[in-house]
Every structure is written in structure tokens, then in C-alpha cells.
């Protein structure tokens, strides 16, 4: 079974530039999550999708971050314009069903450095 795929693995940009990250969840997983992990901290949920609808985006900085999950499969997270404090690893995760208590499967993450 293929795992959660993310790209790019690494990205370096200057502040005020834009960046986009892509995620392909495990086949059949209805729920998709984007987490932000700043160095020395635990992952923080940015946005959660159930199929192609948003379940929770309460911690997403909507003035600069946006995310979409077209057709309920792949997802893209965009940052525009980037700030220095956005430097972090962006983790995508998926799970079978948001209603079921169970494990999340994470991708390897996309490491963003903002200079």
C-alpha cells in the first residue's frame, strides 16, 4: 500500500514570495490533514478536510494560507506572501474516516525555509 506522498521535500524562498505544497493521501482515505511543525514544537493542525469539504480550519492563518482538496483526493497548501515565521515542516496526513478514532498516516513532510 502506497503511503502519503508529499512534494516538494525541501523549498527555500525569500520572504514575501509564494509557495505551494502538494499532498496525495492514501487511496480510499476520506480525511486529509495539513499540520505545521516548527522546530522544537509538536505538529499543529492547520486544516482538516473530509472528502473535499473543510471540517476545521480554525488555526489556519487565512490572510496568507489557503488550501484546497479538489475532487476529494489530492490537496494543495499555499502560502502567499510568506513570512520568516512560516519556516517549518508542513506535514500532510490522512485517515480512513474522521468519525472513527484511529491513527493518522503522515507523509515525510515538506521543509520550508523562508529567508
Amino acid at each position: 500500500e502506497a503511503g502519503v506522498a508529499q512534494s516538494p521535500r525541501y523549498k527555500i524562498i525569500e520572504k514575501r514570495q509564494s509557495v505551494a505544497f502538494w499532498c496525495n493521501p492514501i487511496s480510499g482515505h476520506a480525511t486529509l490533514y495539513w499540520y505545521q511543525q516548527i522546530l522544537g514544537q509538536g505538529p499543529k493542525l492547520l486544516i482538516q478536510f473530509q472528502n473535499n469539504g473543510v471540517v476545521d480550519d480554525s488555526q489556519l492563518p487565512k490572510d496568507r494560507f489557503s488550501a484546497e482538496r479538489l475532487k476529494g483526493v489530492d490537496s494543495t497548501l499555499k502560502i502567499q506572501p510568506a513570512k520568516l515565521e512560516d519556516s517549518a515542516v508542513y506535514l500532510c496526513a490522512s485517515s480512513l474516516d474522521q468519525g472513527a478514532l484511529g491513527e493518522l498516516f503522515f507523509g515525510e513532510g515538506s521543509r520550508l525555509t523562508v529567508l
Binding site: G42, L45, Q48, A100, L101, F105, F106, G109
Partner: protein, 113 residues
């Protein structure tokens, strides 16, 4: 507001001994707890979980204990192996129509031969 806390940033243990990783939480609505392990340059992987209706769950060398009155859980690894060296994250969930995990800051475990 850090709802899930792992107060020990790091822990060093000798191979064969017991590793005990601790986690405290503040939200009494949390009813499901998980531990994830993370190696460098990889995403976190699920290790073990426990529901609030239990006080212990065991899976091989890994045991999680939950003390609801103290809002505390711990992960025991016995015996510890060098391959267990990783960052361990505690996570908690309060079911409110959907599962939302809140992660702690992690504890880096180093198991030396």
C-alpha cells in the same frame, strides 16, 4: 495554550533498560490518546493508543498507562533498543463530531548500546 505537555525534551537510556516517557494534558474532554514516533526526515508514525475507558494498553515492548485523575499518561518501552532512538510525540483527541489531534512538543529518546 499548550493542552498537551511533554516536559522532558530529551531522555537517555541504556540498551536493555526501561524507557519511560511522560505526557500531561489539561483538557478533561480528551478521551483518546496516541503516541507517535518520528525519525529524522520522516513523518511521524503511529505507535500505540489508549482510550479513556482503559488505564493500560500493551503492544509488545510498548505499554501506555493512563491516569485520568492526574491527567497524565506515560509510555514504557521495555527493553529499550538502539532502534528506538527517535522523537516521541504524545497526542490527545476530544471527539466533537470529528477527531482532532493535539500534539505535545515531543521527547527525544536516545538509547545507547
Amino acid at each position: 495554550d499548550q493542552q498537551v505537555k511533554q516536559n522532558s525534551p530529551s531522555l537517555s537510556v541504556q540498551e536493555g533498560r526501561i524507557s519511560i516517557l511522560n505526557c500531561d494534558y489539561t483538557n478533561s474532554m480528551f478521551d483518546y490518546f496516541l503516541w507517535y514516533k518520528k525519525y529524522p526526515a520522516e513523518g511521524p508514525t503511529f505507535l500505540i493508543s489508549i482510550s479513556s475507558i482503559k488505564d493500560k494498553n500493551e503492544d509488545g515492548r510498548f505499554t501506555v498507562f493512563l491516569n485520568k485523575s492526574a491527567k497524565h499518561l506515560s509510555l514504557h518501552i521495555v527493553p529499550s533498543q538502539p532502534g528506538d532512538s527517535a522523537v516521541y510525540f504524545c497526542a490527545a483527541s476530544a471527539y466533537t463530531g470529528f477527531q482532532k489531534l493535539v500534539f505535545g512538543t515531543g521527547t527525544r529518546l536516545l538509547v545507547s548500546p
